[in-house]
């Protein structure tokens, strides 16, 4: 009896319980509204259906949010990712559009390499501003957030560059094993980041830098180098997301590609349980957060919620998610329900548990 109750408590208090619950509720509400919402059929040899759409469309956000998770875990923030998406997409599309044969693999890979190179440089710029010069991350990355849109517009000369390149298109719309390629790219990136940070000491080192940079340095960690590194990783993730966004519509739009994605990414990270103060990060939570945000957007269209109320609807759901995620709020709620103050679980042992998880 107590064992079952304990297990129930353990599930309830797992940090991924509430995000999962919200996602399930959103999907269930959609299924009630339209029973076919979750159905998947085979179309042209590919799986086709709303769940697949959600996965494909959330792929760029997952990528951006992965980089953002690492940045935030060092106590930083990267506002420039949206602009980097636009710049990388613009550079890749511009190079392809100028080529004689847009379907040439060499052309496409050169375009990707060029754009990635620029993204590396932009990430290094952010990293140097934060780690070497010591500017606060929100200011340092704000520079590129604002200036970056300008750079993207310079690259595209204010035009929408339309391309007609099969290989490039595949990044956003291609299929592999009946599923969109974008899903595998995002999954691959997630596994790579998870492997590098959780199978080695790297993740712990990043967290310790986020916890206390100076103490970590005194303990022998090259803190500045770690901070520099996460901004570079974030920029590269954003660049790949930029390829997906532009490939999805076969055109580069300097104004709109990746617009506000930095805010969605920060939201995904927060929904996933990573603290903005740094010192801890949860990659699984971030991916869940990204899925919730995309499901929310798709819900607006699927339920045909009028555009005038769509933003309010999103805001209400996001506020609910954030409140329900906050242990302080949940504690208050359950105390009121039971009428007696419950002793709050000692937080120190639980945190230890999370670290080992």
């Amino acid at each position: 009896m107590t064992d079952a109750k304990n297990r129930y408590q353990a599930v309830l208090s797992h940090r991924l319980f509430w995000p999962v619950a919200v996602l399930v509720v959103l999907l269930a509400a959609n299924t009630v509204y339209r029973p076919g919402f979750l159905s998947i059929e085979v179309n042209n040899g590919h799986l086709y259906g709303t769940p697949i759409d959600i996965l494909r469309l959330s792929a760029p956000l997952i990528l951006v949010a992965l980089g953002m998770t690492l940045v935030i875990s060092t106590g930083g923030i990267d506002l420039s990712v949206g602009s980097i998406c636009a710049i990388s997409g613009a550079i890749a599309c511009l190079h392809i559009s100028q080529a004689a044969d847009q379907n040439n693999m060499v052309t496409v890979f050169t375009a990707l390499a060029m754009a990635l190179g620029v993204a590396l440089a932009l990430g290094a710029w952010n990293g140097i501003l934060v780690s070497v010069i010591g500017i606060q991350p929100i200011i340092a990355t704000l520079i590129l957030m604002v200036a970056g849109r300008g750079i993207a517009q310079l690259v595209t000369e204010g035009q929408i560059i339309t391309i007609n390149s099969g290989p490039y298109r595949a990044i956003g719309l291609g299929h592999f094993l009946t599923l969109p390629l974008a899903i595998f790219i995002a999954l691959g990136a997630a596994l790579l980041v998870a492997g590098l940070t959780r199978r080695t000491a790297l993740g712990m080192i990043i967290e310790s830098v986020g916890g206390n940079r100076e103490a970590s340095r005194l303990a022998g960690i090259r803190s500045a180098r770690m901070v520099f590194l996460v901004y570079v990783v974030s920029a590269v993730c954003a660049a790949i997301a930029g390829f997906m966004m532009t490939a999805n519509v076969s055109s580069a739009d300097g104004n709109n590609a990746g617009l506000w994605v930095e805010l969605d990414a920060i939201l995904a990270v927060v929904i996933g349980g990573t603290s903005l103060a740094g010192g801890r990060f949860y990659l699984g939570g971030t991916i869940l957060g990204a899925l919730i945000i995309q499901t929310l957007t798709t819900t607006v269209y699927a339920m045909n919620i009028s555009p005038q109320t769509a933003l309010l609807f999103k805001a209400v759901v996001v506020i609910a998610v954030c409140l329900i995620q906050a242990p302080a709020f949940r504690a208050k709620l359950s105390r009121r329900r039971r009428g007696t103050p419950t002793p709050s679980t000692p937080s120190a042992p639980r945190q230890k548990e999370e670290v080992s998880a």
């Binding site: 076919g36 086709y48 204010g158 035009q159 100076e214 519509v249 104004n255 957007t297 269209y301 699927a302």
Partner: protein, 334 residues
């Protein structure tokens, strides 16, 4: 140690901010210098123009037309790109007022919220010309004239074509609509004009309507959901070509043939849209011409000279069917 770092960090932030501000003010000085030169009495008329952004091929053609026409008419143009934000436009207009330009022209991002800044322009004695999009201000004296397309008419023409071409249809004709940016004049007016026209035939029903923000990515994402939620869609009405082009991809991915299984009506007639129309993927486009530069410069000169101008000037426009698109495409400017 920790404390020292804490105290250092804000100081560095302040230094960074100061550097930013300094850069900004230097740029601003540069602007006002040229402003005072150009603003000097007689000779050249100085026009401050605030553009919505560069969100579509249409907008780019519009900007180019304004710039070229200004150079041709010998008018000094100060051009600002508001990147789709009203606050940027208000800032730009206030800048123009400070620089004492002769005429201010702008395409409002949204319809409402302009009274204060327009009043400031009026108080400074600077005439304002609205281009392309209207404002819903009750006080019509705040601006001299509105030069632009009649969006209601564009919506109505689209609707009338549909009524004409679905006369023989039996049973309901299911229409889905991709709206422009919520709250913008073209979105409101095109929706209104279209709805009024199709009211003539009770068979025609708009079963879903969502905002695709005038972008390809937006149009595509919304259309994907429409296709899944509604098994029978006969007609797509998109408020601009770009959303229609995005929707094309969604329709093809769903295994349907655009232009045949789903009749597609859009507005604007930019090059990519006209190409799709000529290729048989679109069925009808109501033109919304961006080439209003010459007309704008003409009006600016008249307004500057103190002449009376009509309160509403329409740009010359037409509509295209697939055959007309094939004929018009080779000589198309944008």
């Amino acid at each position: 140690m920790r404390n020292m770092q804490m105290s250092l960090a804000p100081r560095r932030a302040v230094a960074a901010l100061a550097a930013l501000l300094l850069a900004g003010s230097v740029a601003a000085c540069g602007n006002s210098d040229t402003g005072s030169e150009g603003g000097g009495d007689n000779e050249k008329i100085v026009m401050g123009f605030s553009q919505v952004g560069a969100e579509s091929g249409w907008r780019t053609a519009n900007s180019t037309s304004v710039k070229e026409a200004a150079a041709e008419a010998g008018i000094e143009l100060k051009f600002d790109d508001a990147q789709q934000k009203q606050e940027n436009q208000i800032k730009a207009i206030r800048n123009y007022i400070q620089q004492k330009v002769d005429v201010i022209a702008f395409s409002p991002v949204v319809e409402s919220g302009w009274d204060t800044v327009l009043k400031e322009a009026k108080d400074a004695g600077i005439p304002v010309i609205l281009t392309d999009r209207a404002v819903d201000s009750a006080d019509k004296s705040l601006y001299k004239t509105f030069l632009g397309s009649d969006f209601v008419k564009e919506g109505r023409l689209s609707g009338e074509w549909l009524v004409e071409n679905s006369k023989d249809a039996t049973g309901d004709v299911n229409i889905v609509e991709l709206q422009g940016t919520t709250g913008s004049a073209p979105a409101n007016d095109r929706k209104e004009g279209f709805a009024a026209a199709i009211a003539a035939d009770p068979k025609l029903k708009v079963i879903a309507s969502q905002s695709g923000d005038f972008t390809r990515a937006g149009g595509k994402q919304v259309m994907e959901q429409f296709l899944k939620a509604h098994p029978k869609i006969d007609v797509l009405f998109a408020h601009n070509d770009d959303m229609g082009l995005g929707a094309l991809e969604a329709i093809t991915a769903a295994g349907k043939t655009p232009g045949k299984d789903i009749t597609i009506i859009t507005i604007d007639a930019v090059k990519d849209g006209m190409q799709a129309l000529a290729d048989g993927k679109f069925n009808f486009i109501a033109e919304c011409s961006p080439l209003l530069g010459p007309q704008l410069m003409e009006l600016a000169k008249k307004v500057h000279a103190g002449e009376e101008v009509p309160a509403r000037v329409e740009t010359e426009e037409t509509t295209f069917t697939q055959e007309q698109a094939k004929a018009a495409l080779p000589t198309r400017k944008y």
